[in-house]
C-alpha cells in the first residue's frame, strides 16, 4: 500500500475544498486533496453552474417562443425548435472548462490530487481506494470539505422516472410533463426552466407557499410569474408515490393525480458525513460543529462548507476555506462576516443579504422601492419586483437588503458590500448610482428610510 505524508489534507475538491487547497499551496503548505469525482464539487459539476446554463438556455428559448405571439415590441418570428442534446453539450462544455481550470490552478499551487473516496482511519490518517489501489494519506492537519448530497424520499427513490437535480440537468429531451416535489429554490429554478422549455410543470409544496424560507412579499412576484408561465403550484400538498402515468399527491381537497412523465425531487440537501463517522466528532444536528476558526472538536481536524451547516452556499464554503487555511498555518483569522448573500435564480430572481425585517425586529424599519417606478426596468419589459432596505431606526445602519426582480442577482454585490462595510442609509443615498439602471432602486429605498424618496 502506498503512503503519502503531507502537512495539510483536504477532503473534497468542491468550492470549499479547492479554494482551501489552492490557498494552502500558495502559502507553501505541502497539500494533498482527495476527491472522488471531478474537481469543483456539486457546484461546478451538478449544481450552480450547470443549472445556470440550463436556466439561460430555457430563457432564450422562451423569449423566442414569446416572439411568435403578438407582442408590444412589434417583432414577429416563427416557432423555435430545440435540440436539447446539443444544448446540454454546450452546458457540459462550460462545466469541463471550469473543472479543468480548477485542476490547473491546483497544479499551479503544487497541490497533489488523490482520486477516490476518503475514509478516516484516525485523526491523522485517511484511507483512499484509488483506481490504482489503496492509498494511505497521513497529515498534520485535515480539512473536511465533503459537502452535501440531495435528500432522497424513501417512497420516491432516485432512478427511472424519479430524478434528482443531477438527473434533471442531464435530460436530453424535454419531458411533456414534470412534477417537482419541493418548492424550494432548486425545484423552482429547474421547474421554471423546464416550463420555459415547454414542459407542463406542477410544483408540489407541503408548506403554505413556495420558497417558505422567504417572506411573502418577496415570493409573491415569483408566484405570479410561475402562474403566467403556466406552472401549477400545489401548496399544502404532499407527494405520496408514483402512479402509472404520474404522481399521486394528497392536498387540502384530498388525493389527486398529477401528470408526470418525470418527477424531480428537490426536498433539500443533507451533509455528506460518509467516511467521517469513525472520528466521533461533536455534531450540531446532522452537521459537524465548528468554531469561528473552523476547528471541529478534534485537534487538527477542521471542517468547512455544507458539511458544517446552513446556509449551504458555495461562497460561504470559499470564505470558510480562507479561514481554515489560516488556522492550519497558525494564523488568527476568525469568522467575522456580517453579510451572507443568497440568491434564488428563479424568475424573477431573488436576492437576500443580512437581516430580514422580522429578524431585525422593532428597532429597525423596512423601506422598499418598486421597479414599477424604475425606468430601466420598464425598458427591459420587466417591472415586477422591488428592492427593500432594512435599517436601524436610531442610526440608519443597513442591516439587510432584499430584492426581487429580473436580473437582480448581479446587484447582490452592491448589497453585500454595503452591509460588510457597515454602510448607513445615508451612505447608500449619498452614493451616485448610474442612470438608467435597476440599481437606482437601491438609493431610492434608502432615501425612503429618512423620508426623502424622490421618484415615488
Amino acid at each position: 500500500m502506498r503512503t503519502i505524508a503531507c502537512q495539510l489534507l483536504v477532503i473534497g475538491a468542491g468550492p470549499g475544498g479547492y479554494v482551501a487547497a489552492i490557498r494552502a499551496g500558495q502559502r507553501g503548505l505541502d497539500t494533498v486533496v482527495v476527491e472522488a469525482a471531478q474537481p469543483g464539487g456539486t457546484c461546478l459539476n451538478i449544481g450552480c453552474i450547470p443549472s445556470k446554463a440550463v436556466i439561460h438556455l430555457a430563457e432564450e428559448f422562451h423569449r423566442a417562443t414569446e416572439l411568435t405571439h403578438d407582442n408590444p415590441l412589434g417583432i414577429s418570428a416563427g416557432a423555435p425548435g430545440i435540440d436539447l442534446t446539443k444544448g446540454m453539450a454546450w452546458k457540459d462544455g462550460i462545466v469541463s472548462r471550469l473543472t479543468g481550470g480548477v485542476a490547473g490552478l491546483m497544479r499551479k499551487a503544487k497541490v497533489r490530487v488523490v482520486t477516490g473516496r476518503a475514509r478516516f482511519v484516525d485523526g491523522k490518517t485517511v484511507a483512499v481506494d484509488t483506481p490504482e489501489g489503496p492509498v494511505t494519506v497521513k497529515a498534520k492537519t485535515v480539512i473536511i470539505a465533503t459537502g452535501s448530497v440531495p435528500v432522497e424520499l424513501p417512497f420516491l427513490p432516485f432512478g427511472g422516472r424519479v430524478l434528482s437535480s443531477t438527473g434533471a440537468l442531464a435530460l436530453t429531451e424535454v419531458p411533456k410533463s414534470l412534477a417537482v416535489v419541493g418548492g424550494g429554490y432548486i425545484g423552482l429554478e429547474l421547474g421554471t426552466a423546464f416550463a420555459k422549455l415547454g414542459a407542463k410543470v406542477t410544483v408540489i409544496e407541503a408548506g403554505e407557499r413556495i420558497l417558505p424560507a422567504y417572506d411573502a412579499d418577496l415570493t409573491a412576484p415569483v408566484a405570479a410569474r410561475l402562474a403566467a408561465l403556466g406552472v401549477t403550484v400545489l401548496t399544502g400538498t404532499q407527494a405520496l408515490g408514483l402512479s402509472d402515468s404520474g404522481l399521486t399527491v394528497r392536498g387540502p381537497d384530498g388525493a389527486a393525480e398529477v401528470a408526470a412523465q418525470k418527477v424531480l425531487v428537490t426536498v433539500g440537501r443533507r451533509p455528506n458525513t460518509a467516511g467521517i463517522e469513525p472520528l466521533g466528532l461533536t455534531m450540531d444536528g446532522p452537521f459537524l460543529r465548528v468554531d469561528d476558526r473552523m476547528r471541529t472538536s478534534m485537534t487538527g481536524i477542521l471542517a468547512i462548507g455544507d458539511v458544517t451547516g446552513e446556509p449551504m452556499l458555495a461562497h460561504r464554503a470559499m470564505a470558510q476555506a480562507e479561514i481554515a487555511v489560516d488556522t492550519a498555518a497558525g494564523g488568527r483569522a476568525a469568522w467575522d462576516k456580517r453579510a451572507m448573500p443568497a440568491i434564488c435564480f428563479t424568475d424573477p430572481e431573488l436576492v437576500t443579504v443580512g437581516q430580514s425585517p422580522s429578524e431585525a425586529g422593532d428597532a429597525a424599519r423596512s423601506d422598499s422601492f418598486p421597479f414599477k417606478a424604475n425606468g430601466r426596468a420598464m425598458t427591459l419589459g420587466r417591472e415586477d419586483g422591488f428592492i427593500r432596505v432594512v435599517s436601524r431606526k436610531d442610526n440608519g445602519l443597513v442591516l439587510g437588503v432584499q430584492a426581487v426582480g429580473a436580473g437582480i442577482s448581479e446587484l447582490a454585490a452592491a448589497f453585500a458590500l454595503a452591509i460588510e462595510m457597515g454602510a448607513t442609509v445615508q451612505d447608500i443615498a449619498g452614493t451616485i448610482h448610474a442612470h438608467p439602471t435597476q440599481g437606482e432602486a437601491f438609493p431610492e429605498a434608502a432615501l425612503k428610510a429618512f423620508g426623502h424618496a424622490l421618484h415615488i
Binding site: R332, A333, D336, R338, N395, G396, L397, M421
Partner: protein
C-alpha cells in the same frame, strides 16, 4: 523657579538607613505638600515619606531597592521662588532649550493621522453590551494582525463604525489602551517585578521555614456554638471605648491554658545551636495582612492579659500593622503564631511555621454545619483549626493533645474562666 531637595527624614528607632520599596511619584509630577512621595522600609515596618512642600518632581534619589541613609537626598523638586542651593542637576538643563526651536524647512514626517475626536473614554465600554463592533473588513484585518480586540475600540464613524483613524488612535495611545475594556483577548505582557523590601523578607523567611522545618499539620473541628453565644453576650455588655471581642482573644486564652500542659509548643528552636528555648511567657504572633504583604505582630505576654485586654491589644496591633507603624519590638520575638483569615479562612490549610518558632495555629472559617446530637441533626457553628508543628521538636501526640485541649476549652467556654480547671 528654584530646585529644593527633600532628604530622607529620621524615622526613629535609631535607624540609620532605609530601603526604598516604592516610588509614589514620578519625575514631572506636580505634587502637593504632605503628599506621600515614597515608601521606605526598615526591618519590617514600611513608612511613607510625605512631601514637606509642593512643586514639580525633577529627580528621584534612587531606584527601588536602593538603601538610602538618613539625611541623604531623597527627591529633588522644582518650586516657585528660591531654590535651596543644593547642587543643580546638570541633566535637567538641555530640556529647557526645547521650546524656541526654529521652524525647520524640512517637510514634516508622515505621522499617524490624529483621530478627529480622540476617544477619551476607553475606560467605558464603547458600545452597548452584546452589540458587535462595526468595521470594514480592512479595518478588521488590520486590528486582527495587530492583536487589537475591536470590541474595546470606540468607533467615531456613522452608526459607531470603527474607522482606520480610530485604529490609528489606538496605535498612538500605545499598548494596553485597547485592552482596558476588552472582554476577552490574549494578553502577552509579562511584568518584571523586583522582589524587594518586605516581599524580599517574606520570601527569605518562608524559604527558611519551609526548607528547614519538617512540618506536621493537624486539622480538627471545633463546635463554637456556645462560644459564639458567650461572645455575643459579652459584646452586648461592653462599655464605651472597649473594642469588640472577636474569636481571637478566646483562642489566645485557650492556647495559654493548653500551653501549660504542652509547654513544648511554645518555644523557639535555635537549630544551629541545637537548643530549644521554651518560654514561660506566651508571646502570641498575630499574622496581619498589610497592603505590602504579610507581617507578624507580636502580642506580648498574653498569659498576663484578660480577654478585654487581649481584644484591645489585638485591635491596636492590627491598626498599626495596616498603617505600617509597628515598631521593631512589635515585629519580633513571638513564641507561637496564630494565622486567621476570618470568613476567607477556607475549610482547611497548611500553615507555615514562623521560624524559629515550633508551632502555628490556623483558624478556618466558621460555618453552620449539621451535627448529629444522638437524636437528629442540629445546626451548629463549626470551624476547623489547622495547626502545623515542627516535627523535630513536637511529636504527633503532643500536637494532638495541644489541639484537643484547645478544642475542649473552646467548646466549654466556661473553662476559659476557671483557668482550665474543671
Amino acid at each position: 523657579m528654584g530646585i529644593r531637595t527633600i532628604k530622607m527624614p529620621d524615622i526613629g528607632e535609631g535607624i540609620a538607613e532605609a530601603e526604598l520599596v516604592e516610588w509614589l511619584v514620578a519625575p514631572g509630577d506636580l505634587i502637593a505638600e504632605d503628599q506621600p512621595l515614597a515608601a521606605v522600609m526598615t526591618d519590617k515596618a514600611t513608612v511613607e515619606i510625605p512631601a514637606t512642600f509642593g512643586g514639580k518632581v525633577v529627580e528621584l534619589g534612587g531606584e527601588v531597592g536602593k538603601v538610602i541613609a538618613i539625611g541623604a537626598a531623597l527627591i529633588r523638586i522644582e518650586v516657585d521662588g528660591e531654590g535651596d542651593g543644593a547642587e543643580p542637576a546638570p541633566k535637567t538643563e538641555p530640556a529647557k532649550a526645547e521650546p524656541p526651536a526654529p521652524a525647520a524647512p524640512v517637510p514634516p514626517a508622515p505621522q499617524p493621522k490624529p483621530a478627529a475626536a480622540p476617544p477619551a473614554a476607553t475606560a467605558r465600554a464603547p458600545r452597548p453590551e452584546g452589540e458587535a463592533p462595526l468595521a470594514s473588513p480592512a479595518v478588521r484585518a488590520r486590528a486582527r494582525d495587530a492583536g487589537i480586540d475591536l470590541r474595546a475600540v470606540p468607533g467615531t464613524g456613522p452608526a459607531g463604525r470603527i474607522t482606520h483613524a480610530d485604529l490609528d488612535a489606538v496605535f498612538a495611545a500605545g499598548p494596553g489602551a485597547a485592552s482596558a475594556t476588552a472582554a476577552r483577548q490574549r494578553d502577552l505582557t509579562v511584568r518584571q517585578i523586583k522582589v524587594v523590601g518586605l516581599r524580599r523578607m517574606i520570601a527569605d523567611k518562608m524559604s527558611t521555614s519551609r526548607s528547614r522545618i519538617p512540618h506536621i499539620t493537624y486539622v480538627e473541628d471545633v463546635d463554637a456554638t456556645r462560644l459564639e453565644d458567650l461572645r455575643e453576650t459579652m459584646n452586648r455588655s461592653r462599655t464605651e471605648g472597649q473594642p469588640k471581642l472577636t474569636l481571637l482573644p478566646f483562642l489566645i486564652r485557650a492556647m495559654v491554658i493548653a500551653i501549660r500542659d504542652e509547654p513544648v509548643v511554645n518555644a523557639r528552636f535555635d537549630d544551629d545551636a541545637g537548643i530549644v528555648h521554651q518560654y514561660g511567657a506566651v508571646h502570641a504572633g498575630i499574622a496581619v495582612q498589610t497592603q505590602t504583604g504579610l507581617v507578624v505582630a507580636n502580642l506580648r505576654h498574653a498569659e498576663a492579659r484578660g480577654l478585654w485586654d487581649l481584644a484591645g491589644e489585638l485591635a491596636r496591633l492590627a491598626e498599626a500593622g495596616r498603617k505600617g507603624t509597628l515598631t521593631r519590638d512589635e515585629l519580633t520575638g513571638s513564641t507561637i503564631t496564630i494565622t486567621s483569615l476570618g470568613p476567607m479562612g477556607g475549610i482547611s490549610h497548611t500553615p507555615i511555621i514562623n521560624h524559629p518558632e515550633v508551632a502555628i495555629v490556623g483558624v478556618n472559617k466558621m460555618q453552620i454545619r449539621p451535627v448529629w446530637d444522638g437524636n437528629g441533626f442540629v445546626p451548629r457553628k463549626v470551624m476547623n483549626l489547622s495547626s502545623s508543628f515542627d516535627h523535630r521538636i513536637v511529636d504527633g501526640w503532643n500536637a494532638a493533645t495541644f489541639v484537643q485541649r484547645i478544642k475542649g476549652l473552646l467548646e466549654e467556654p466556661a473553662l476559659l474562666f476557671t483557668g482550665g480547671e474543671a
